[in-house]
C-alpha cells in the first residue's frame, strides 16, 4: 500500500501523467485507488495539441496499468519519509 499512501498525500495537487501511448495529461489529482488508477480533473494535454480529441475533456479516469510516469511537484514529496516507508515495507515483507 506504499504507493497508494503516497499518492493519497498528493490528492489535490497538480500532476502530469505520461501514458504509455505517449500522451501527457496535466491536471489535478482527484483520487487514486489500490490499483493506482488515477482520476484527474481540469485536465489539459500538455504537449502541443496533437490530440485534439482531448480538447473538450475536463475530467478523466486513467487505468493504472497504462501509466508510464507521474510527474510530481518536488516540494510536495518528502523523500526521507518515502525511504522510511519503503524500508518498513521491505521489513514487513521479509517477515
Amino acid at each position: 500500500m506504499l504507493f497508494y499512501s503516497f499518492f493519497k498525500s498528493l490528492v489535490g495537487k497538480d500532476v502530469v501523467v505520461e501514458l504509455k501511448n505517449d500522451l501527457s495529461i496535466c491536471g489535478t489529482l482527484h483520487s487514486v485507488d489500490q490499483y493506482l488508477n488515477i482520476k484527474m480533473t481540469d485536465i489539459s494535454v500538455t504537449d502541443p495539441e496533437k490530440y485534439p480529441h482531448m480538447l473538450s475533456v475536463k475530467n478523466c479516469f486513467i487505468r493504472g496499468s497504462v501509466v508510464r510516469y507521474v510527474q510530481l511537484p518536488a516540494d510536495e514529496v518528502d523523500t526521507q519519509l518515502l525511504q522510511d516507508a519503503a524500508r518498513k515495507e521491505a521489513m514487513q515483507q521479509k517477515q
Binding site: 500500500m1 506504499l2 497508494y4 499512501s5 503516497f6 493519497k8 498525500s9 490528492v11 489535490g12 482527484h30 483520487s31 487514486v32 485507488d33 489500490q34 490499483y35 488508477n37 482520476k39 480533473t41 475536463k58 475530467n59 518528502d78 526521507q80 519519509l81 518515502l82 522510511d84 516507508a85 524500508r87 518498513k88 515495507e89 521489513m91 514487513q92 521479509k94
Partner: protein
C-alpha cells in the same frame, strides 16, 4: 389497440408491452377488435358517429338543437354504415341499452359497474368484458328500429353518463371501446349534468388509471429503476464445502427491502429453479459471520455531508455518503457472504473528500477477539482543509464554467445507466479492500506526511496551538473468513472440490526464512560500497524500530511494556555497537564511522541517530566526527550534505560538559594542519563556532564553570584565533550561522586590534546574528 394510443397522449410503448404481456387482455381485445366481438366494426365509422354524437350532446346541453335534428344527423351518419352491423355494434357499445330495450337502464348499469372492481383495472376489464359479452349476446333481442334505437341511444347515452357519474369509477366502461364515449362524454356532460365533486372523482380516476389493463407488476419507480436487471443467476449446484446457495445470486446489488425481492423473484420465474432457496433468507444475528459490503461499511459510517466538489465531475460521492444512503435503506439485510477479497492491506477506491469528523464508528457489539480493521480512505483533517481551500479558490473563478458543465450533464443520454445504489455497491466492494489491520504500517507515508506538515505549520505560526489535528482512522471490525476445507475423519487428504468461493489450496507450502548468517554467507558481499550500504540499511531498520518505540509503547498494554522496553534497549545497544570500537566503550571506531559517513545515506543515518543516543554515546560520536573531519570533508565534497549534521550536533554540544567540550575542541584541532582544513569546510567552521559559542555561554552564565580550571581551553582558543587570523580569507568558508556571542568570546582573549581584525575577517559584529 389504436384506441388506447390516441386516447391518451401519455401513453407510451410501455403500455403496449404491458398489454401484450397480459394474456387475458390480448385475447379479449383481439376478440373485441378483430375477432368475433368486433365482427366488421369499422371503428372509424364509430368514431365519427360518436364524434357527431358528442357535438350533438353538447348542443343538447347548451339547450340548442333538438332531438330530431340529432336523430336526423345520426341516421344520416348511420346510413353510411351497413345496417346489420349497426345493431350489433350499438349493442356492443351499449349492451345495457339493448338488453333493456326500454327497461331499467340505471339498474343494469349499476349492476355492470358494481360487477367489476375498479381497483383491478386490467383484471376488472377482462371480467367486465366477459360480463359484457353475455349481456351483449343476450341483448340480441329484436332490435327496435334503427331510428328509435338511436334516439334511445342518445337519451340513454346521457342517462348512462348520469348514472356513471354517480357510481364508482366506471372502469368497466373504460376497457372497451366505450372509452370513447366516456372520454368524450365527460367533457360536455360534466359541465352541465355533473356536480363538481363527481366530476373530479371521475376525472381523477381517469387520470389515475389512464389506460386500462396496466399490469400492477409493472408499476415502476420514478426514474427508470434498472434493478430488475439482475445479473444472471449463477448456475452453481450445491457443493459440499460451498457456502449455501442463495436464491438471490451472490453479488447482486441491493435493492429494496425483502418484500420487493420476493416480488422480483416472482416476476422472474426463470431464475434459479433447480436450486431454489431451500433456506429462506433469514435475518442475520446481531453480528453475522458474513456481512455484505453494505453492512460492513454502514458500520463504519459517518454523517452525511455535502460534497463540495463541482458538479461537473459527476457522481463522485464520498464513500461514506454512499454508506449512509444505503444504511438508511438496507437494514439488517443479509446478502450472502462478503466477497472473498478481505485481504488486509490492499488499497481500494478512495473517494475524494472523505468525511468530516472522522470518528471511530464501531456500531456493532465490540469484538475483542477479532482484529480491528481500520478504514484508510479517510483524509487527514489537514488535508481536507487544504482541499477545501483549493475548492473555494477554484469555485470563485469557475462559477460560470460550473453551470456550463451542469447543462452538459443534463443532456447526457448515457447517464443513469446504473442506479445510485449500484454505484455505491460497487464502490463499497472496492472500499473493503482498503481496510487494513495496521494503518500505521500500511499508510505510513500519508499519515506521517500530514503530521509533519502540521508540526511545521505549528512551528511557523510560532507555536500557536489551535488544535493538533490527528488523523483517526475509523475502525471496522474485521471478520475472519477462514475457509476450512471439508475433511472427513480418517480420510487421507482433502476433498478436491473447490469453487470460486472456496478455492482450494493446491500445495501446502511452508515458508522457510533463511537466517541472517546464511544470507551473509550466501551474498558474499565483496563490494565495499555495497557492504557499507548494507550496514547502513541494517542500522536504518533498527533506527526505525527505535523511532517507533514511543508510539508502540503507548499502545501496548501494561504487562507487555517491559518486554518492549527491553527490546528497545537491545536495539540501542546494537546500534551503538555497530559504531563503536571493538574494545573501547566510549570511543567510536574511526574506521567504521568513516565508512558509514562516506555515503550520503550514512550521514543521514547518523544525523537521525544522534538524538536517540544517550549522552555519552552521542558525545563519543560527535568526537569521532570532529576527529575525522578533514577526511569527512574530503569525501563530502561531492555531496555537500554534512550540514545535515549541524542540528543534532548542536543539541549534543549544548548538553556537553566543559571537559568534554574542551576535549572536543582539541579533537577538532587535532594534529597540525587540521584546523585550516577544518576552516575550509563549511561544516567545520560551523562546528567550531558552535563549540566556541558554547564555551562562551558556559563562561558567561556560570562563573564557577570549570572551563578555566586548566589552561586548555584558553590555549585552544588562542590557537584558534591565531589560525583564524593567519588563514587567508579565501580559504575561510562562511558558516551556516554565526553565534552572537563570539565577539564577547574573542574580546576576552585578544586585544583590541586583533579583535577588530577578527571581526572584519569573520564579518562578525556585535550585532550580527
Amino acid at each position: 389497440m389504436f384506441h388506447f394510443q390516441s386516447f391518451d397522449d401519455d401513453c407510451t410503448l410501455e403500455e403496449e408491452e404491458g398489454l401484450v404481456e397480459e394474456e387475458d387482455e390480448i385475447d379479449q381485445f383481439n376478440d373485441d377488435t378483430f375477432g368475433a366481438g368486433a365482427i366488421d366494426n369499422d371503428w372509424q365509422e364509430e368514431h365519427a358517429r360518436l364524434a357527431g354524437l358528442d357535438e350533438r350532446v353538447r348542443d343538447e346541453v347548451d339547450g340548442a338543437g333538438d332531438a330530431s335534428s340529432v336523430d336526423l344527423s345520426l341516421s344520416g351518419s348511420n346510413a353510411h354504415s351497413s345496417a346489420p352491423p349497426q345493431p350489433s355494434s350499438s349493442s356492443r357499445l351499449y349492451p345495457s341499452i339493448d338488453e333493456r330495450g326500454g327497461g331499467d337502464l340505471a339498474e343494469s348499469l349499476t349492476h355492470l359497474i358494481l360487477g367489476s372492481d375498479p381497483a383491478i383495472a386490467g383484471v376488472g376489464a377482462a371480467s367486465s368484458d366477459r360480463s359484457l359479452r353475455p349481456l351483449m349476446l343476450s341483448g340480441q333481442t329484436p332490435q327496435p328500429s334503427a331510428l328509435a334505437g338511436q334516439s334511445s341511444l342518445l337519451l340513454s347515452y346521457q342517462q348512462q353518463h348520469q348514472v356513471m357519474h354517480r357510481g364508482p369509477a366506471p372502469l368497466s366502461q373504460i376497457n372497451s371501446h366505450s372509452i370513447w364515449e366516456n372520454s368524450m362524454g365527460f367533457s360536455p356532460v360534466s359541465s352541465g349534468l355533473l356536480t363538481q365533486k363527481e366530476d373530479k372523482t371521475l376525472m381523477s380516476i381517469i387520470k389515475e388509471v389512464g389506460l386500462p389493463n396496466r399490469p400492477p407488476a409493472l408499476s415502476r419507480e420514478e426514474g427508470r429503476d434498472f434493478s430488475e436487471r439482475v445479473p444472471p443467476p449463477r448456475s452453481s449446484s450445491p457443493v459440499i464445502g460451498s457456502p449455501p446457495v442463495r436464491a438471490v445470486p451472490i453479488g447482486t446489488p441491493p435493492k429494496q427491502p425483502m418484500s420487493h425481492v420476493h416480488t422480483q423473484q416472482n416476476n422472474h420465474p426463470s431464475a434459479i429453479q433447480h436450486v431454489r432457496a431451500s433456506m429462506p433468507l433469514r435475518y442475520p444475528p446481531p453480528f453475522p459471520e458474513r456481512l455484505s459490503p453494505n453492512n460492513l461499511l454502514s458500520i463504519a459510517s459517518s454523517p452525511l455531508s455535502h460534497s463540495p466538489f463541482p458538479a461537473g465531475v459527476g457522481p463522485v460521492l464520498s464513500q461514506i455518503q454512499r454508506a449512509q444512503l444505503l444504511n438508511s435503506q438496507v437494514g439488517p439485510f443479509q446478502r450472502g457472504p462478503a466477497p472473498p477479497l478481505l485481504q488486509g492491506g490492499v488499497g481500494g477506491f478512495r473517494p475524494f473528500f472523505g468525511q468530516s469528523g472522522p470518528r471511530v464508528g464501531l456500531h456493532g457489539p465490540p469484538l475483542g477477539h477479532a482484529p480491528i480493521r481500520h478504514n484508510t480512505t479517510h483524509l487527514h483533517p489537514q488535508h481536507r482543509r487544504m482541499l477545501n481551500q483549493r475548492m473555494q479558490n477554484r469555485g470563485l473563478g469557475d462559477h460560470v464554467g460550473g453551470r456550463g458543465v451542469g447543462d452538459r450533464k443534463n443532456r447526457d443520454p448515457y447517464s443513469n445507466l446504473m442506479t445510485q445504489r449500484e454505484k455505491e455497491w460497487v464502490a463499497r466492494i472496492q472500499m473493503m479492500q482498503l481496510q487494513s489491520t495496521d494503518p500505521y504500517l500500511d499508510d505510513y507515508y500519508y499519515q506521517n506526511y500530514y503530521e509533519k506538515m502540521e508540526k511545521r505549520q505549528e512551528r511557523d505560526r510560532d507555536n500557536r496551538k489551535e488544535h493538533t489535528t490527528k488523523l483517526i482512522t475509523p475502525q471496522v471490525a474485521k471478520l475472519e473468513h477462514t475457509y476450512r476445507p471439508v475433511q472427513f475423519a480418517g480420510s487421507l487428504g482433502k476433498l478436491t472440490v473447490s469453487s470460486v468461493n472456496n478455492p482450494r489450496k493446491m500445495i501446502d507450502a511452508v515458508v522457510t526464512t533463511r537466517s541472517d548468517d546464511e544470507e551473509k554467507r550466501e551474498k558474499q558481499v565483496w563490494n565495499k560500497r555495497r557492504q557499507i550500504l548494507y550496514t547502513v540499511e541494517k542500522m536504518y531498520s533498527l533506527l526505525l524500530e527505535v523511532q517507533d518505540f514511543e508510539k508502540k509503547f503507548l499502545q501496548t498494554p501494561e504487562h507487555q511494556r517491559d518486554a518492549l522496553l527491553e527490546q528497545h534497549k537491545t536495539h540501542m545497544v546494537q546500534l551503538y555497537n555497530s559504531l563503536r570500537e571493538k574494545e573501547w566503550d566510549d570511543r567510536v571506531s574511526d574506521k567504521q564511522c568513516l565508512m558509514i559517513m562516506s555515503v550520503r545515506k550514512g550521514k543521514r543515518l547518523i544525523s537521525r541517530l544522534l538524538p536517540f543516543l544517550p549522552q555519552p554515546h552521542a558525545a563519543a560520536v560527535v568526537m569521532g566526527i570532529a576527529r575525522n573531519l578533514p577526511a569527512l570533508a574530503k569525501k563530502d565534497k561531492h555531496d555537500q550534505v554534512l550540514c545535515w549534521l549541524v542540528e543534532p550536533v548542536t543539541t549534543v554540544i549544548q548538553s556537553m560538559s566543559s571537559t568534554s567540550l574542551t576535549d572536543l575542541l582539541q579533537e577538532l584541532q587535532g594534529s597540525e594542519g587540521q584546523l585550516p582544513l577544518v576552516l575550509q569546510n563549511k561544516f567545520g567552521v560551523t562546528l567550531l563556532y558552535l563549540i566556541l559559542s558554547e564555551g562562551e555561554r558556559m563562561q558567561s552564565s556560570d562563573p564557577n564553570c570549570q572551563l578555566m580550571d586548566d589552561n586548555r581551553w584558553t590555549e585552544l582558543v588562542f590557537s584558534v584565533t591565531r589560525e583564524l587570523l593567519k588563514v587567508p580569507s579565501s580559504a575561510l568558508s562562511s558558516p551556516l550561522f554565526t553565534p552572537p556571542n563570539l565577539v564577547s568570546l574573542f574580546s576576552r582573549y585578544v586585544d583590541r586590534q586583533r579583535l577588530e581584525l577578527l571581526q572584519e575577517k569573520l564579518q562578525i559584529t556585535s550585532l550580527t546574528r
